[in-house]
Amino acid sequence: MTEEIRIGVFICHCGINIGGVVDVPAVVDYASTLKHVVHAERNLYTCSSEGLEAIKSAIKEHNLNRVVVASCTPRTHESLFRATCKEAGLNPYLFEFVNIRDQCSWVHMHEPESATEKAKDLVRMGVAKAARLEPLEELTSDVIPTAVVIGAGISGMTAALSLARSGFSVHLIEKEREPGGLLRNLYKLYPTDELAAEFLEQRIRAVNAHERITLHLSSTVKEVEGYVGKFKVILDEAGVEQAIDAGVIIVATGAKEFEPVGLYEYDGEKVITQLQLEEKLKKSDLNWAAIKTVVMIQCVGARGEVVGYCSKICCMNAIKNAKLIKETHPEVNVFIAHNELQAYGEEYELYYRAAKKAGVRFLRFPLEQRPKVRKSEGKLIVDVFHERLNLDIPIEADLVVLSVPLVQNPDALHLSKLLKVPLGQDKFFFEAHVKLRPVDFATDGIFLCGTAHGPKDIGESIAQGYAAASRATIPLAKGYVRSEPIISSVNEELCVGCGICESVCPYGAIEVVEVDEDKKRARVTSVKCKGCGTCGSSCVKRAIKMYHFSDDQLIAQERAAVTTEVR
């Protein structure tokens, strides 16, 4: 670069946040002695409109070609200052942030002198890096206005309908021969007690009727290529291969009921699961004349027995079925043996009370002493430990219903590999952030909803279906995706194609390709790259350059930590 480097430094008081600890004027004086620095000033709040104006006018007045702001934290303010540089005609990537609040004045609030020295060090390091910054251009790419939704259960259908109503084409992919998912196995729904089949029928009709939804039944995903805006999904639709181009993908593959083989004398006849019970209730396939007592056992295989988690919906499901039995056959004794009863929220607590009123008996067992099912003289006995009495209560049961957890579908692992999105410890799909991004994946353009994310009831699955639709609508409605240019790039002269970078990239953004015969090189898909730097730090050949965090920039910054470049 032949152009003279002219750096402007802006030190923020942040009210008293920085100014109350760090001697800001001293830092300004110091900054103005540094090499390449042609202007240094302080602002009460650099982020205020006044402060931003000061940056813009200084860029013009002093012909600055690099800007350094020393203030709060880049997490909240870097984009603002970049935008300000851009408004003044400076490439926004010629801006460098120095954190002297979160990482200096706040943590050293009782040592003002040391904090001031540290602020000087940090500013010197920032200036050293800034001198070596390069202008970068943002990348944009078009978005195909089509969505792929994998799984036509209640959450997938909800997401598909919402996207279609917002004006986008949707390909809804279902591996079974019919849509509906888990709901197809249910008899009635809580808390309204309406028939699941009727409820589902309305939704399926809406899906079938919508001109922008294409339903692919008996279809599985074979391959997925591409990135946000430009995915190619290869389907096997009833034996025929099909390719779909789409801008976004929603994973709504649902879950399945755990099969309690070898637990609690499970036999599928007298000891059955809740879903098997619903099937029998639906078909009126129970001989009530021979059933005097029904015992339901909660947490079978869950909360530490087989899987670690609580499956959330089983308590309410058991209460629903118990209440239904009690309402239609009041003479039958219905017991629910439970540990912690998950009748959370508004409606469920009321529903639970209604079940008690209907005569359902609740027995609480400690988790350490779960019920035991045994056969004695041809009879089924359930022993439920009673804490207050400190003994097992034997209940003779004609039907035992096991409330088992929802577990991940076995083919989810394969799909997670195809999409390069993670599964959690509980085997459910793992969202980008447990608290703040419940329906996003870390990979742009791929979203998540329903029980594929973890056990949840119908209302919550529907809410997540809509939520995923909202998140997916963003790139579709925009029509383009813009990505920061802070990404990695491979120097093919140095690269030997070892593939370490590919194996460590969390976003599937770098892969080894054959460039010539017998010659393999790593290639970066820019739109997918998040600039995390994992590939760069793992490259043994130093063939990967991280833009904005290049070796020479970082080394200059580190060197400045211990040496001083003055004018």
Binding site: L80, S162, G454, Q464, S470
Partner: protein, 415 residues
């Protein structure tokens, strides 16, 4: 904020109306969040900034919707902007006015545990960073006007009425914690060392009034703390039979944080049913028990009595017929979380219905964002108890419905 942000990102203009001085809501008051123990304000503040700075979002704080006319696709909304007595465009948030103001007023944000001045922002990370004058308590000394370098003080500022035309409306008014003073058996308001969970949250927060130190009013070190669940909730006395869904985990988190800060402090959680149903919650409770030694006791105290030294005796009956006594030196009440003050008025203004417990009513229980009026959607705790990730999903869900209205047009709005 999530609903506004999704809509704005999809290219739709949003007017975000907030009653208080800052966006952010209740989450801003929390120290950490379960089950990851993420610092609440650290993950929230960037979202607040993203919302405030978004080119498609107009943020109107200290404002309330006072009338709505029209119908889905074209609502006319009147919004009352209450005066801050400081010119929003001029204030740069320097805080000079706050430093000179001689008034001392309890700060609601800190659950009245800290004194703020009469010129204030509710908390350090407030967005927007614009001060307001508390004119009700003001003694008219005029110092703020003298000191303000931006000449932004406006003692005569009047409420302002603004109008906006919108296609859809989303209601996301959240919750208030129940004031447990009426639950006399627990002595809140009478006994010094009985706090609410949100008060405790401010105490243990490093940015809170005590810098994160858990201290009693008498300055005594705390050795044993008990949390009581379902205070005023799952309780038919006040017609509040519902479960608030988050308190079991909230108490678990506060107990874990306590044990992290003070490994020697003993922590007890007295509960009715432990509701740990969400993703990662059971594992979090297991960690509380196994790694942090939090003691869970099943049994809700019938009464608390204060001893002369300020300690508290909890009378409860777990699995025996005899009454047990637990002595602790601080009690934290996990009170019911109830729909925010003012929802009745808002429901009238919007022409939508509330249910028996003042949550916004759904037209169809399986359509979780649909209020009783077309084009008005609901998100978050104000519809029914739910935790943060569920509120966020619900916010996005409401946004999706609003997108259908704005992007999809009228022929395709409903199924």
């Amino acid at each position: 904020m999530q609903a506004a942000f999704d809509l704005a990102e999809a290219g739709i203009k949003v007017c975000l109306v907030e009653k208080t001085l800052s966006i952010g809501g209740r989450m801003a008051q929390l120290d950490k969040t379960f089950p990851t123990n993420d610092c609440a304000i650290c993950i929230l503040a960037p979202k607040m900034m993203d919302c405030y700075r978004h080119e498609n979002i107009e943020v109107l704080t200290f404002s309330e919707v006072i009338s709505v006319e029209g119908e889905v696709g074209l609502f006319n909304v009147k919004i009352l902007r209450r005066p801050r007595f400081i010119e929003e465009e001029l204030c740069n948030g320097c805080g000079d006015c706050a430093r000179v103001c001689p008034m001392g007023i309890l700060n609601r944000f800190d659950m009245d545990l800290r004194v703020r001045s009469g010129a204030y922002i509710p908390f350090l990370q407030a967005v927007p960073l614009i001060y307001a004058l508390d004119r009700e308590k003001c003694m008219r000394c005029g110092l703020c006007k003298v000191v303000c370098g931006k000449d932004a003080i406006r003692y005569d500022q009047k409420p302002e009425l603004v109008e906006r035309t919108v296609g859809a409306i989303i209601v996301a008014t959240g919750f208030d914690p129940l004031d447990p003073s009426d639950i006399t058996e627990y002595g809140y308001g009478t006994y010094d060392n009985v706090l609410t969970a949100l008060e405790y949250e401010r105490l243990i927060c490093a940015a809170g009034p005590t810098g994160g130190h858990v201290v009693r009013k008498d300055g005594k070190e705390v050795k044993r703390i008990a949390w009581i669940q379902c205070v005023g909730a799952r309780d038919t006395r006040d017609n509040r039979p519902y479960c608030c869904s988050v308190c079991c985990m909230h108490a678990t988190k506060e107990a874990i944080l306590t044990r992290e800060h003070y490994p020697e402090v003993e922590t007890f959680i007295l509960y009715t049913d432990l509701r740990c149903f969400g993703k990662g919650f059971q594992e979090y409770v297991n960690r509380a028990k196994d790694d942090y030694g939090v003691v869970y006791i099943r049994g809700k105290p019938g009464e608390i009595r204060e001893k002369e030294n300020g300690n508290l005796e909890l009378f409860y009956s777990p699995y025996s017929d005899k009454v047990e006594i637990l002595e602790v030196d601080m009690v934290v009440l996990c009170t019911a979380l109830i729909p925010s003050e003012g929802v009745e008025t808002l429901a009238k203004v919007l022409g939508i219905e509330l249910d028996e417990y003042n949550f916004f009513k759904l037209r169809d229980p399986y359509n979780p964002t649909e209020t009783t009026r077309e084009g008005i959607f609901v998100a978050g705790y104000c519809q029914a108890p739910r935790d943060i990730p569920e509120c966020i999903a619900h916010g996005s869900a409401a946004a999706s419905r609003a997108m259908e209205v704005v992007l999809g047009g009228s022929d395709d709005r409903r199924d």
